[in-house]
């Protein structure tokens, strides 16, 4: 008897709640399911702002967002893409690390099935050209240009022809390596002597492993005037690297990318001279928008260059609060 | 198979030396084991008892000397555990004879499985034979142990029984027991001593390494005393009581 009363009360309360709910307009992305590859590990330097951007876009547009993390391993990204496609969502966002060739057939299958595929952070130019009309867009830096921009900011700090510099990057990955290539070549055009150092897979996943390597390099090259990188995690370690190598901020011109918390410290102390702000938040936000625009309104893929400028010790203070919130 | 009746000793060692690097573990060993006798091998720690056994059963190669099995000489380089098994010499180690996590039917046959041409084990047949060994040879009846039980489920004395039973099943002419009663309780020791008697009753020979003089005194026909790698004496149990034996061994230790 008690149970029946209880149930009745519950039903009545539910009915009231439904009747009382104000009529609201549905967000335009309601009902859409999207899989997004975040790249690294949840919360790490180059991933957090993208996670935040994607989440806020999904909430605003009503999209059901499913995030995948791959520790930057290309073969994991491919497997995750297959799993995403098998789940038959409306959209999938991928990154360029595995390369256009590896992705091509898989993307074609997905697009043929009516799934919208778009990209971010690291470009897949061939795929963009082929599937652009079907919604394949890109939200990220023009890698080569971004590297070049960073190099120019470094040169503005007073580097001269004949100075020694080292560029630490992922030269082995075809498209992703364009960033460091742009950086190195721009410095070379200005007459600097460049040493190229490759980031190992272990360091790629866990940058703290690179600290002793870089510190040792600096100590072995006392004439080193500049270090450039386009790896977000590596940039974050630079302040520590300089300390460990016994250098004061400003002894070496450091150019990097992204605004990890430790990079902010580096900018404030002057250890990091310039960092390319690739607006990671937008790299997460925009693909979700692309998804909705193509899935609902059949718009083609759009390209958004998020490498708008560099942040220097002079401009960092204004941004600190936003960075802590995981937005910039 | 060797001819049945024309040898006096099952195993005979002549002038055997064994060096581990610069250390001499065995020195001038001349020892023969008769066909149906229980020989107790006694001596203090480090006397070389284990080493002697390992040389006799093919685990270790002697540095020099000759080994005869049933009066046929064995080339030291060829001698191996498998060959010893083929020559009907079996060893039962205190805690190294059976694999703990494996079932009894595997423990019975490992190293000489019943297989087809490709090496696949005839599991059904092995289990049947194992069951027979369990009941007939070892005499375990209705105690809740089956051929599928793992060795870990057995008590210490039962494990020795299994190991000895395995040796007997393979019709070993010589069974070597390496400290079988160490770490066993009183009732378990009784069982092991009984098993040793069965070995002699079935017409086989046995070498019995033992620390506990009372146990070995009870069953041995002959006691061989080893000290610092040499055979120092051979004693018949009826000639010395256990206390006298103990005194003798202690005196040996005090002599340079």
């Amino acid at each position: 008897m008690r149970l029946a009363n209880f149930l009745l009360a519950g039903v009545a309360a539910g009915g009231l709640a439904v009747a009382a709910a104000p009529a609201s307009a549905d967000p335009i992305g309601k009902g859409l399911v999207m899989y997004m590859q975040m790249g690294g590990n949840p919360g790490d330097g180059a991933t957090l702002a993208r996670q935040t951007g994607a989440k806020e876009a999904a909430e605003a547009l009503g999209v059901d967002l499913k995030s995948q993390f791959s520790a930057w391993a290309p073969e994991t990204m491919i497997n995750q893409f297959k799993e995403a496609v098998a789940a038959k969502p409306n959209c999938v966002e991928i990154m360029g690390h595995p390369g256009s060739t590896a992705f091509h057939d898989l993307v074609k299958q997905a697009v043929d099935q009516g799934i919208v595929v778009t990209s971010g952070n690291s470009p897949l130019t061939d795929l963009q050209n082929e599937f652009g009309p079907k919604g394949f867009g890109y939200a990220g830096v023009d890698l080569y240009a971004g590297g070049a921009l960073t190099a120019k900011a470094m040169l503005a700090q007073g580097l001269k022809a004949g100075d020694r510099a080292m560029v630490y990057g992922v030269f082995s990955q075809a498209e992703r390596g364009q960033s460091e290539k742009g950086l190195a070549e721009t410095l070379e055009k200005a007459g600097l002597k460049i040493d190229r150092l490759e980031i190992s897979q272990e360091a790629n996943s866990d940058m703290s492993l690179a600290v002793p390597i870089l510190a040792a390099y600096i100590q072995a090259h006392p004439n080193l005037k500049a270090i450039g990188t386009q790896h977000g995690g590596a940039t974050g370690e630079m302040q520590q690297v300089l300390e460990k190598a016994g250098k004061k901020p400003g002894d070496i011109v450091v150019g990097g990318i992204d605004l990890a918390p430790s990079t902010i410290d580096g900018l404030k102390s002057g250890a990091v001279s310039a960092t390319l702000d690739q607006l990671l938040y937008l790299q997460g936000f925009f693909p979700v928008v692309q998804c909705v625009m193509t899935a609902k309104y059949k718009m083609p893929g759009l390209s958004l260059n998020t490498g708008a400028g560099t942040v220097t010790p002079k401009t960092i203070d204004a941004l600190t609060k936003l960075i802590d919130a995981g937005i910039r | 198979m060797t001819p049945a009746c024309d040898f006096a000793s099952v195993v005979r060692l002549e002038g055997v030396q064994k060096y581990f690097g610069a250390v001499q573990a065995l020195c001038d060993i001349d020892l023969s084991i008769g066909r149906n006798e229980i020989v107790g091998l006694i001596g203090d720690n480090g006397a070389g008892k284990s080493t002697l056994i390992k040389v006799m059963t093919g685990v270790l190669e002697p540095t020099s000397g000759r080994i005869f099995v049933r009066e046929r000489e064995i080339q030291p380089g060829e001698y191996s555990v498998r060959m010893a098994h083929d020559l009907s010499i079996e060893t039962v180690y205190q805690d190294k004879s059976l694999a703990e996590k494996q079932p009894l039917w595997r423990n019975f046959f490992v190293g000489r499985q019943i297989t087809n041409r490709f090496g696949f084990i005839d599991i059904k047949r092995q289990k049947e034979v194992a069951q027979k060994i369990l009941i007939d040879v070892i005499g375990f009846r209705g105690v809740g142990i089956t051929v599928d039980s793992t060795v870990a489920n057995l008590s210490g004395g039962e494990r020795q029984g299994i190991a000895i039973g395995r040796a007997m099943h393979y019709n070993a002419d010589l069974i070597v027991l390496d400290e079988p009663t160490a770490a066993l309780g009183v009732a378990e020791v009784r069982k092991v001593v009984e098993f040793v008697r069965r070995i002699k009753q079935s017409g086989r020979a046995c070498i019995y390494i033992e620390h506990n003089l009372a146990h070995v005194h009870e069953v041995a026909d002959r006691l061989v005393v080893l000290d610092r790698g040499r055979v120092v004496s051979e004693i018949a149990p009826k000639d010395m009581t256990v206390p006298e034996l103990t005194e003798y061994l202690i005196a040996l230790q005090h002599n340079a």
Partner: protein, 358 residues
């Protein structure tokens, strides 16, 4: 003396616990994400992505069953994958590239075995060292570059090893997607199961894992068998490398790193004991299914990526604790006795099964 049963139900049905866990997880995912798990596509995807993991874990089952460990197989994925990719792409050697790739894995495994068995360095240290060496060799030889195997799906190698046999024959979409490496893997793993449970070599493996000393004493050539085990692992890792490289139509400079912990975890949650002497291929296979399925399932069910590791860790811990209690009757009885005494208000009674000491 207490009653001792011959073989409990756990021993009679191989890998029963992990199969139950797998079924439960599957039902859970079907409930939480029916649009994904009640459709065939996620399963055909698994069939194309799980074979490398399963082959690696099957090899590890033998290695761990023998009481050893192999940490070098990720570097074989890179090294053998490279050998295969470069011969296949640059020199157009087709099936010879396959054989060369397999041979390179066999070589690495054989060297591992020789160092471990003959030189006597423990397997943990040996394979840690060879892991760095061969991964380094792969990077040196490849220049760190990745190789795209463009047009690979035209070749007979691709068609036979990772092809889609039903592609042209049917209109049913999921049938078209069935990949043939699942079949080859099933055959290889089935064969390995037979070896482990019914062949002399499998028995030797378990005895060696149980105790090296006992094995020597009963006449097993421990050194030779260990070399065989590690060589087998090398062969299986190379097979995984070739399947992976062909399926992705790409050789990635650093491929293989992600498999180290997942392969070992799959073996252990499947019921093979890290201490050696007890191994099950069937358990390993279901362990792989679970590890491979968890991430996709959690993502589809809406759990954020951060939870995946946590859930994988929980599954791992729960399995290990479960196996410990299942295998050690004293601990199990002690636990049950403790639970019983909690359930009695005020009455203190010892359980009938009281401590049986040997």
């Amino acid at each position: 003396m207490a009653q001792r049963s011959g073989a409990s139900i756990l021993q009679r049905f191989e890998a029963l616990p992990i199969i139950v866990v797998f079924v439960l997880l599957l039902l859970l995912f079907m409930n939480r994400a029916p649009e994904v798990f009640l459709a065939p596509y996620i399963y055909t995807t698994f069939l194309s992505t799980l074979p490398p993991l399963i082959l690696l874990a099957a090899g590890l089952t033998f290695v761990i069953g023998a009481g050893e460990i192999d940490l070098s197989f990720p570097s074989i994925i890179a090294f053998s994958g490279f050998i295969f990719a470069v011969l296949f792409k640059e020199y157009d050697l087709g099936w010879i590239a396959v054989i060369a790739g397999l041979a390179s894995g066999v070589l690495v495994g054989f060297l591992n075995g020789v160092i471990i068995a003959k030189v006597g360095i423990p397997s943990f240290m040996t394979t840690l060292g060879t892991q760095f060496f061969w991964a380094g060799m792969a990077t040196v030889l490849s220049g760190g570059k990745s190789y795209a195997l463009r047009g690979a799906d035209e070749s007979s190698v691709w068609r036979w090893i990772v092809g889609r046999p039903f592609a042209g024959l049917t209109d049913i979409v999921w049938l078209q997607q069935l990949s043939i490496q699942a079949l080859w893997t099933a055959i290889i793993v089935g064969f390995l199961w037979l070896i482990l449970t019914r062949h002399r070599f499998g028995e030797h493996t378990l005895f060696i894992g149980d105790s090296n000393d006992v094995s020597r004493v009963v006449g097993i050539d421990v050194d030779r068998e260990k070399i065989k085990i590690f060589t087998l692992m090398g062969f299986l890792a190379a097979s995984a490398a070739i399947i992976l490289t062909l399926e992705n139509k790409n050789f990635f400079g650093n491929q293989g790193q992600g498999y180290l912990l997942t392969a070992i975890a799959s073996v252990l949650i499947g019921g093979t004991s890290i201490f050696g002497g007890q191994a099950t291929i069937l358990g390993t296979v279901f362990g792989c299914f679970i590890i491979g399925m968890v991430e996709a399932g959690l993502v589809a069910a809406g759990l954020t990526g951060a939870w995946v590791r946590t859930v994988q860790g929980l599954i791992f811990l729960a399995s290990i604790i479960f196996y410990m209690y299942a295998d050690e009757p004293q601990r199990r009885r002690a636990l049950i006795a403790n639970l019983r005494s909690f359930g009695r208000f005020g009455g203190i009674r010892t359980s009938e099964e009281g401590g049986v000491r040997r």
